[in-house]
């Protein structure tokens, strides 16, 4: 199914904010098996100069998943979510996320194209504090695999 090209350039404004909690950071770090003390021990994080626990580098995906859910599930866009796989992901950091941050995400559709029957959509998420301090920019390519991929 071809995607609606009119969506290129469309920006989805920040929705409700995300308050980063210590236990969520610990839970996420444990789920990726990362025992770096700055993800678990407040004193270790403070010893490195951080205000509180540091979030692992891929933690922002929690925020961008929520922010992009409305985008990829938008029926007018025409993406078949059950066939979606992740093609590329990147993060450009101004600083690490730390516990206590209250963050908002603004998502923009940067590109839409179809290659070999697969729909591909590139999005950018700007993650900032409520006061407008930039923390991290996320970039994602998601692919909706065409039905012909099912052929052996």
């Amino acid at each position: 199914m071809a995607l609606n090209p009119d969506f290129v350039g469309r920006t989805y404004p920040a929705g409700s904010s995300y308050l980063v909690g210590r236990e969520k950071i610990r839970e996420f770090a444990s789920a990726i098996g990362d025992t770096n003390p700055v993800f678990h021990d407040v004193q270790a994080a403070r010893a490195l100069g951080y205000a509180d626990l540091v979030a692992p580098p891929t933690f922002p995906v929690i925020l961008s998943l929520t922010a992009s859910a409305d985008v990829v599930r938008d029926p007018e866009l025409g993406l078949d979510y059950s066939r979606v796989v992740h093609g590329e992901q990147g993060f450009a950091y101004s600083r690490p996320i730390v516990a206590g941050d209250e963050l908002v995400v603004t998502t923009t559709i940067e590109a839409i194209r179809t290659m070999a029957g697969n729909d591909m959509i590139t999005t950018r998420g700007e993650i900032e504090t409520l006061s407008g301090e930039h923390v991290v920019t996320t970039r994602s390519l998601i692919i909706s695999r065409g039905p012909e991929d099912d052929q052996p």
Binding site: P57, I62, R83, G87, Y93
Partner: protein, 142 residues
């Protein structure tokens, strides 16, 4: 804990300590809960195979997180990371058995800039097949 490497001690070609990670189905369920990514292809074999995958596959973001540990364990302070990006070139298939999937990650310094930034290029292999492409991190070293 401070960064364990300094910019002047690093050269293009410097190898980071390699790491091997094992993923079983419970790791995928745990990551789904922690990340909020409940896409069924990461835990439901019936649907994964119905959409043309060989079996349940790991979240790409989980593989990216594991590969990134080779960089952050090397520098110590994860705040040294300036940029980190990957392409998910092949799925990490996680069978429903005791062994699960094994991912081997290596990293090599591929560029050294005068401003204290170095680029690390990562490789991630599962069953001798490359699962990440263009996997690169920029880190600022003291």
């Amino acid at each position: 804990m401070t960064a364990s490497v300094s910019w002047r001690d690093v050269e293009v070609g410097t190898e980071l300590p390699a790491q091997t990670f094992t993923l079983d189905r419970s790791a995928l369920v745990r990551y789904a809960g922690a990340s909020g990514d409940f896409n069924v292809i990461h835990w439901n074999e019936r649907i994964a195979t119905a959409v043309g995958l060989p079996n349940v596959i790991a979240h790409g973001m989980l593989t990216m997180a594991l590969a990134g540990r080779v960089v952050t364990d090397w520098v110590g302070d994860p705040g040294a990371l300036v940029d980190y990006g990957v392409r998910f070139t092949r799925p990490v298939v996680v069978p429903d058995d005791e062994a699960g999937a094994t991912i081997e990650v290596t990293g090599t310094v591929s560029r050294k800039d005068e401003d204290g930034i170095v680029q690390v290029t990562l490789t991630a292999r599962c069953d001798a097949v490359t699962v990440l492409g263009r996997a690169q991190a920029l880190v600022r070293l003291p």
